[in-house]
């Protein structure tokens, strides 16, 4: 579609007070009623926004130099007992939202430090540095407020994350997740995102949102500085990296939060203006909650890939009730619609009042996806196992005793014809047979609750089992439960090194 106006045109209209701004909620009605063409003619800017948990968030702080100087970089920095990053220069730090207080743990974290800074509260600083010739001070402590800092710059590596999964729990016990508590037996459904008013649903192909886009960030002005981490636009999971001046932010739009038994995070209210340059953009802004698909997964399984419970839409989720099987389950989104609506209305007001001008991106956000699971090289049980010495349940203990001397081992895996593990037999079991008068392996072997290691299990996991259950060895099995080898504590100790 050819453009019918430019960002410069829009800014001229903001200056002259003629600009027509619609919130994302209003725009959906306009597009539905009048069609994208007319909507594009009538509306200059659409304001979109969210108010949600922005876990990948934090702020750079600069304290200014002390006299004599301290070198915090390489040392340790604590803000209200919450550790901040000490891998920068002598008086710079980064406080991240999820870092927990050393004293109050889950009750207070980096997110709360940031909220307290924004609300003007005094923060306790403790810093320990390494004394050098030019930075002789080793330790510094005291109180400061945001006004005492040279810079306080919020930089969030992942913002406006487009789509999250919704979560529920099929097990019979409650579980605590980043989506809050999930009650047992599909007791509730929890989800994120403001749905169809959230920025990236209104501009899914990043036509207008790019590097340099000016945004409303927690009550102040911010900028998009690139794609965010886990950016996966092709799967409708785009994200943005943003920055803004913490000194201009307002507590109303920035709140430290604790997710019970999980961790701390920061609620941030943020808005993005979308310039309606053509009717395609207007059409995109017409997206509705029933157009947006969400999958509900069963979170009681801790693996990355979780069982799908139901495919649904934001419309059903937002109704507050979701039908799962033959039950109606309460659903709530951990992103505040009330505050998101306040954000888009506030941004609309700022543009209309001439307090907020639009910017033209200096570069587009990539549409390439970068989202792969974590790849780690680790030692597996099968890397350190030794050949198993096996016997069968019907073997006589006499034969096994002979085998024990021959192979110089006191640990046997008892298997059937298909090499499935049936039990284990140790020299201690054989010794017991003197008292119990057993003659066959099956009389004395351990066959209940046999612990095994999967072949691709990290050795740390095998080691934990060996320690926890005080075992001499663990049979290593393949996917069908057939024995491949044995891991023993003594092997682990020297092989892992």
């Amino acid at each position: 579609m050819p453009d019918i106006r430019s960002i410069d045109d829009i800014n001229k209209r903001i200056r002259s007070g003629e600009v027509v701004v619609a919130t994302a909620l209003e725009m959906k009605e306009i597009v539905a009623e009048k069609g994208a063409e007319r909507a594009a003619k009538e509306v200059d800017v659409v304001t979109t926004g969210t108010f949600g948990m922005t876990t990948s968030s934090g702020a750079f702080l600069n304290f200014g130099h002390s006299d004599p100087q301290i070198k915090m970089g390489g040392g340790e920095v604590l803000l209200n007992d919450v550790p901040a990053y000490a891998g920068l220069s002598s008086v710079d730090t980064y406080i991240g939202a999820t870092q927990l207080s050393k004293v109050h743990k889950l009750e207070y974290g980096g997110a709360h430090v940031i909220e307290d800074l924004v609300s003007g509260k005094s923060i306790n600083l403790k810093a320990y540095g390494s004394a050098t010739q030019c930075h002789p001070i080793k330790e510094i402590g005291g109180e400061f407020t945001i006004g005492d800092l040279n810079q306080a710059i919020m930089v969030n590596p992942r913002s406006f994350y487009q789509r999250y999964n919704a979560a529920t729990n099929s097990s019979d016990a409650p579980i605590c997740t980043y989506l809050g508590t999930l009650l047992p037996n599909f007791g509730n459904v929890s989800y994120f995102s403001a749905g169809s008013i959230s920025p990236l649903y209104n501009d899914p192909t990043f036509e207008t949102i790019g590097i340099g886009t000016r945004i409303f960030l927690a009550g102040g002005i911010g900028y998009v500085i690139g794609e965010g981490t886990l950016h996966n636009p092709k799967a409708m999971c785009g994200s943005l990296m943003v920055k803004g001046d913490l000194k201009k932010m307002k507590q109303r739009y920035l709140r430290g939060a604790t997710i019970a038994n999980y961790g701390t995070t920061l609620f941030i209210g943020a808005g993005v203006p979308i310039p309606v340059l053509n009717s395609t953009i207007a059409k995109n802004c017409g997206v509705r909650d029933d157009d947006i698909k969400v999958n509900i997964y069963d979170y009681h399984i801790p693996t990355r890939v979780k069982p799908l419970v139901k495919k649904t839409t934001y419309k059903e989720l937002r109704s507050g009730k979701v039908v799962i099987g033959d039950r109606t389950v309460k659903a709530s989104g951990l992103s505040s619609m009330k505050m998101a609506v306040e954000v888009i209305e506030k941004l609309k007001g700022m543009i209309e009042e001439g307090e907020f001008f639009l910017t033209k991106p200096v570069e587009r956000i990539t549409m390439e996806s970068m989202m792969r699971p974590m790849k780690l090289v680790y030692v597996k049980a099968s890397d350190v196992m030794s050949a198993p010495v096996t016997c069968s349940a019907d073997d006589s203990l006499k034969d096994v005793e002979r085998l024990m001397l021959e192979k110089k081992t006191g640990y046997f895996v008892v298997i059937d014809k298909q090499r499935h593990v049936q039990g284990v037999l140790t020299s201690w079991d054989i010794a017991k047979s003197i008292v119990t008068n057993g003659t066959k392996v099956k009389d004395v072997m351990t066959s209940q609750n046999i612990k095994t290691s999967r072949k691709d299990e990290p050795v740390e996991v095998s080691m934990r089992k060996l320690e926890q259950y005080r075992l001499r060895g663990l049979p290593v099995v393949d996917d069908e439960g057939k024995v491949l080898g044995v891991v023993r504590m003594q092997d682990l100790k020297h092989k892992v090194k």
Binding site: F51, M53, G180, T181, L183, N188, V189, S190, R255, G256, A257, T258, I259, A260, T265, F267, G320, V329, K330, A331, S332, G333, L334, S335, S336, M337, K338, M339, V341
Partner: protein, 133 residues
């Protein structure tokens, strides 16, 4: 109309049929929310479903049967200024005590509350608190 009360019975005065007996006699509905039994006393948190006059009569009978009765005012507090209307508590509440208003703000109706503490334990910004105990 309902009134929250804490009722303490010394163990020797208490039998399991005591409360149902009083309910039958007075014709007033009483919901037991929580019962705590210790060797020396039985502590019942409950809700009298009646108007003020009937509730007072019910309390008088309880006292006559040996109970110490403490009337509870609001034992839950919701602070709408702290609440960010994230909605987390809404789906955790086993009753309809927490609902959304039209403007997506959150409303608490403590008459419906069964004091399960889900909201208190889970609210990420501590906008709800329990004032009892």
């Amino acid at each position: 109309m309902s009134k929250r009360v804490l009722v303490f019975f010394p163990s020797k005065e208490y039998t399991e049929s005591l409360v149902p007996e009083i309910v039958l006699k007075s014709g007033t509905i009483f919901n037991t929310i929580k019962t705590e039994v210790t060797p020396t006393q039985v502590k019942i948190m409950g809700e009298i479903k009646a108007n003020e006059e009937k509730a007072q009569e019910f309390i008088r009978i309880l006292k006559r049967r040996g109970a110490v009765v403490k009337e509870l005012g609001l034992i839950m507090r919701f602070d709408p200024d702290k609440c960010v209307a994230c909605g987390m508590c809404v789906s955790l509440c086993p009753t309809d005590a927490i609902t959304f208003n039209k403007d997506f703000s959150v409303r608490y109706d403590f008459d419906e509350c069964v004091l399960c503490m889900n909201c208190v334990k889970n609210c990420p910004v501590k906008a709800v608190s329990y004032l009892g105990d």
